[in-house]
């Protein structure tokens, strides 16, 4: 189904007019151990207002575990992950500050996409009108009233994104959001995220598709085997005469050998 996604990207909620470049989220010496395995090892980085940061690394590098700790789903073994200077769980209205998608299929298969959003809007005390606004934004269309089991992967990604955008958040945290989107959807997502950041929003987007990331992000944080091996603006990499791919291959292979 070749749906052209969406309206013009909306501006993010303007609850906190922080200056551009101010840290929105900080990850300090974050560590997570599962028994003997160190999944996340002393990770430190910050997200600055108005930027799109790419969080990249091989599968199993610790990206998702880091995001889970940032979102309060997992407890750090050491260190801390703060959003607006607080732990996620301590935010007053977390869904209005942060929109997040961790998995592309966190839906009940028999529940309609619209009901999925209605449930979340009720829980986060958002006006019911936000449900249809968010659905419009991702152009899910009449399918929103069908059970999610009938959705393609791309439609599930869009529904997840609609859930993240429900609260008009200041910060978007997206784990592999382009997975399963068709080229039109990928392009729409890229434009949406750029416009979101230009409007003062902040984005952290994980991916292993470097070509996609390179066109979307301002900065990259590269993680391998649980450790941050690069944290740089794309310009800085380009200044060294490196493409993102060059830098990524060099760094991850260097760290592996």
């Amino acid at each position: 189904m070749a749906t052209v996604i969406g309206r013009e990207p909306g501006a993010p909620g303007a609850a906190t007019p922080a200056p551009d470049g101010a840290p929105i989220a900080t990850v300090n010496h974050l560590t997570k151990r599962f028994g003997d395995l160190v999944a996340v090892d002393d990770v430190t980085f910050s997200l600055r207002r108005g930027t799109v940061t790419g969080f990249i690394g091989p599968n199993g590098a610790g990206k998702t575990t880091t995001l889970r700790m940032l979102l309060g789903l997992a407890e750090p073994t050491a260190g801390e992950a703060l959003i607006f200077d607080r732990r996620y769980a301590a935010l007053d209205e977390p869904a209005r500050r942060v929109g997040a998608v961790l998995e592309s299929n966190d839906f009940h298969p028999a529940r309609s996409g619209r009901d999925h959003l209605r449930v979340l809007a009720l829980a986060a005390e958002m006006p019911a009108s936000r449900v249809d606004e968010a659905l419009d934004l991702v152009a899910l269309g009449p399918a929103a009233r069908s059970p999610v089991k009938k959705y393609s992967l791309g439609m599930r990604q869009r529904l997840g994104l609609a859930a993240a955008l429900l609260g008009e958040p200041d910060l978007l945290i997206l784990d592999e959001p382009a997975n399963g989107l068709d080229p039109v959807g990928v392009r729409w997502l890229r434009q949406y995220l750029r416009a979101f950041a230009q409007g003062g929003g902040t984005v952290l987007v994980s991916s292993h598709v470097l070509a996609e990331i390179a066109q979307t992000v301002d900065r990259v944080v590269i993680i391998n085997r649980g450790r941050v091996i690069a944290d740089a603006a794309l310009d800085e990499l380009a200044g060294r005469g490196q493409t993102l791919e060059d830098a990524y291959i060099e760094l991850t292979e260097g760290a592996a050998s």
């Binding site: 789903l73 966190d106 028999a110 009901d115 999925h116 449930v119 009720l122 829980a123 986060a124």
Partner: protein, 246 residues
């Protein structure tokens, strides 16, 4: 908390799981009452106690089982389908999520209990009438039976939420609840009735006035069942707050 309760109630209404459980329960209640109404000899269906325990009592038993399953699935279903993540992102204070599930589950369980016992009562009367037996149960018996069934359903749904929150994995939770209620408690009741009457399934039955010679008085049974439910929820809350979500 009101927001989370509204969200939980919409979750119950927006899939067919709850309605499917209710329909399965009703089918089993009618089948069980009719089969026992025809299968049992006249001497086993004479006294009010016998008619409650051996005939219409299936309404309470099945109501409690399905209420427990509904409560458990309200938690384990979220783990199974991954909706636990968006749920906890919307409400990171996890204790509130468990509490809202208990309240929503208790309401659903109450409906399960009332429907199951009412249908069992009506089916029992019809079956007795068709066989030409006297109905020995009076209004007071029915009030206790249906009211107790409602309370047992509500409490069992809460137990289900607690057990689901502790176990998290859906299949072991359901198998465990069914094995306990349908097998372990039967063995206990047959071999060690003094102990078996303190088991949570038997306490639910005592609430409805079943086996009055063996089981505890309804009020005491209800109180102890509430203690079980509170303990299960307390443990489920601690487990949910302390453990990472995948």
């Amino acid at each position: 908390m009101r927001a989370q309760l509204a969200a939980e109630l919409l979750k119950l209404r927006s899939t067919r799981t709850t309605a499917g459980l209710l329909a399965s329960m009703l089918g089993l209640v009618v089948t069980a009452v009719v089969l026992h109404g025809y299968g049992l000899s006249a001497t086993r269906l004479e006294t009010p106690s016998d008619q409650l325990t051996f005939l219409v009592g299936w309404g309470e038993v099945l109501g409690a089982i399905f209420a427990g399953l509904a409560g458990a699935i309200s938690f384990t279903g979220e783990v199974r389908h991954g909706t636990i993540r968006p749920t906890l992102l919307a409400t990171p204070r996890r204790g509130r999520v468990v509490a809202a599930k208990c309240l929503a589950g208790a309401l659903a369980g109450l409906v399960f209990g009332v429907v199951a016992t009412s249908v069992a009562a009506v089916t029992g009367r019809i079956t007795l009438a068709v066989r030409g037996f006297d109905v020995a149960l009076d209004g007071g018996d029915y009030v206790l039976f249906i009211g107790g069934g409602a309370a047992a359903g509500a409490l069992w749904a809460v137990i289900g939420v607690g057990v689901g929150a502790i176990v998290r994995n859906q299949v072991p939770t359901i198998v465990g609840l069914l094995a306990w209620l349908l097998f372990v408690e039967g063995v206990l009741g047959d071999n060690a009735p003094g102990l078996g009457r303190f088991a949570p399934g038997a306490l639910g039955q005592s609430l409805s006035g079943l086996q009055p010679d063996t089981l505890l008085a309804p009020a005491l049974g209800g109180l102890l069942l509430a203690v079980y439910a509170t303990s299960a929820v307390a443990a489920g809350t601690v487990a949910t707050v302390r453990r990472d979500v995948e």
